[in-house]
Symmetry: C2
Subunit: 203 residues, 2 copies
Amino acid sequence: MAGRPRNEQARRDILRTAADLASVDGLDGLTLGRLSTTLGLSKSGLFGYFGSKEELQLATVRRATEVILDEVITPALRIPPGVERVRALCARWLDYSRTRVFPGGCFFFAVMAEFDARPGPLREALAEGSRAWTGLITSSIAEAVELGELAEDTDPAQLAFELIAFMENANSVSLLQDDADAYRRAERAIGNRLGGRRSVITD
Amino acid sequence: MAGRPRNEQARRDILRTAADLASVDGLDGLTLGRLSTTLGLSKSGLFGYFGSKEELQLATVRRATEVILDEVITPALRIPPGVERVRALCARWLDYSRTRVFPGGCFFFAVMAEFDARPGPLREALAEGSRAWTGLITSSIAEAVELGELAEDTDPAQLAFELIAFMENANSVSLLQDDADAYRRAERAIGNRLGGRRSVITD
DNA sequence: CCTACCGATCGGTAGG
DNA sequence: CCTACCGATCGGTAGG
């Protein structure tokens, strides 16, 4: 709104780089000095875009949210409501993590663990993003139940908790152990929960 | 081994405080200045215990491992092998997270997300701890299968992945959303996986 | 957008 | 274990 329209694209590019750095080193590890060096501009020039370190951090969170919308949510929502949409949300998210759209894996996983115990605007922004994602999975599951594609005694919030747990743990294990098998484990767990298959004899 | 035996307990106390601070602010956010002020001793006096920031960080990881052994693993291993031991490991871990033995929730969750994309001795130490925990859950599940207390087609590594996912996600959601329900969701998911109950009509 | 700077804090050292 | 420092880097400002 109160903007520098001419610099809007430059600002977006700066924030995309900031999100890459923060996915590895965290939003505190994201310093004005390192970011300005990476971008090849002066520290005070960079600072002028944001006015404070905290505003840079908040703007980076908003930019990373856009990336997830583009990479995961918008494509998955092209699938009509039902269990296939839930599957697509999970599959897109796992691809987003696995292909390292951010070099440190999921941006939100990295920074939520950094701020989840530190009250302030960053924690609130991250909590809001997490609620929106959980809400989207929950309501997509509820639609699939209404359509008769999932068992009618399914608790959508409970199942959403479980699916998100599988996705986040795949991200975490694959990063820490350098073990891409974690994604196959998550896919198998998700397939079992959504496909009605009871046993583990899946593939 | 090559020790200052007289200072051993002081060192342990220092590291217990360091683990508390790091669970909230991370192992980078753990600075010699803040830790020395918290403890009421001089920065160089504190420094002398460790010789480098990285050694302080590594020693803090080892001290936090002891806490988990005392709070979670040793008590659970008093239960004989079988599904009740698996249940006890999960229940103890959830209590350890829920009661905020560390003020920032599970110490390892906080610092694994910090270092999982940053090669070096800290990432290796955390990866080793994570492998040991995953291995303990996996072998405890395998024992329960051998005892006929879990279905014989159970894949222990797969089930361990799923149980750990539920535990970590409960820790994460409870911290970020201030929502203790997350622990009930994890308990329900774990109960369903270990108790053979299919439906969600659990409590 | 830049150069040049500010006080505070960082990890670490000298010397006792 | 302490006081007193070191150079580097932090977020941020002055002035252009």
